[in-house]
Amino acid sequence: MRVAQRGRAGEGRNVVSDNAAPPTSPRTHEDPDVANAIRVYDQLGADPPKVDVALNDAAHSRAHTLDRHGPDLPLRQQAGVLTIEGRIYGDHGWGQPENQSFKWDDPTVMTREINGYVQRNWETIRSDLATDGVHEGRYDAGHRVGEGFLNGGMYGFGPRHAEYTPTSLVRLRIRLVPGSDPAQPFLVSAFPAGIL
């Protein structure tokens, strides 16, 4: 994640579970994990970073937004070509079949959605990175952001088959750069989705 401090966190729209239960192993102030979380939280700072996806993906070997969901990827299945539809079947270039496979409509939408989410939810992202080293987010943008395929047979209703759909849903994962000190975040992947 290319970090250029700007903006401020605002209202979040990410999905939050409401099925709370009593904690099984509450943290105490003696817990060294808590001390480390406070240190990382402070290092990450109050201002959300600006994400340049191309720079992020080039800088981090684990990042794959453009490789797996980039706007330039071919949509429809083609022999010998890595495609969005082909991922449903584990075709050429994919390690195994997936139940959903989507691409961003264009770089402008991708950049705006990712940075909008980070801006709105930075305090939550910052806390998750501090405690767990990873943040996963998902939300409905309320407008089209991409297109792709769901596996129509994913719940056992028949054989695997790719069903096309445009989508307004977004999922993403942000991590700490391993070993970074001070702590630095990077975007593992952000992608339009058929299922939140």
């Binding site: 579970s17 099925n19 709370a20 239960a21 009593p22 904690p23 099984t24 192993s25 509450p26 943290r27 105490t28 102030h29 003696e30 994990d33 808590v34 001390a35 480390n36 979380a37 406070i38 990382v40 939280y41 684990r62 794959h64 797996r68 584990g90 994919w94 390690g95 195994q96 079949p97 997936e98 139940n99 959903q100 305090e123 939550t124 806390s127 998750d128 501090a130 405690t131 767990d132 080293g133 990873v134 943040h135 996963e136 998902r138 596996n151 047979g153 994913m154 719940y155 056992g156 695997r160 999922r171 994962r173 991590r175 700490l176 391993p178 070993g179 593992v188 992947s189 992608f191 299922i195």
Partner: protein, 120 residues
């Protein structure tokens, strides 16, 4: 350390994380370590990155998987979680039983990552 030194938003997030039910903890694990990966090797890489920061989330995830596998859940819950949240292919057995097999294998992998982490 004085607990009052914990920033309020961080303290609130910790409390929210700890209060999640096992099912929600497993869903979060799947979304953060399995979804959009390209196989077991990449899942292991994700788990190892987490363990390098803290083993706590993985230990909590193990407890949550164990709890979910013995919990009486509505039919289709495990299948929707593994095939949907994780996007994992269950073509050979697209049932709750098939999803449970996947979760047990994932739990074994987490245990292996934790063992390696403790040896370092």
């Amino acid at each position: 350390m004085d607990a009052s030194q914990i920033p309020e938003s961080l303290r609130a997030r910790m409390a929210e994380q700890d209060a999640r039910r096992p099912l929600e903890k497993v869903r979060s694990l799947l979304r953060s370590h399995v979804a959009d990966t390209d196989g077991w090797g990449e899942i292991r890489d994700e788990l190892e990155m987490t363990s390098q920061h803290s083993t706590r989330p993985l230990r909590q995830s193990l407890e949550a998987i164990d709890a979910v596998l013995v919990e009486e859940l509505p039919a289709g819950t495990l299948l929707r979680m593994v095939a949907g949240d994780a996007g994992w292919p269950l073509d050979d057995d697209p049932t709750d039983a098939g999803a449970a097999v996947f979760l047990r294998k994932l739990a074994d992998l987490i245990g292996s990552v934790l063992d390696d982490s403790h040896r370092k």
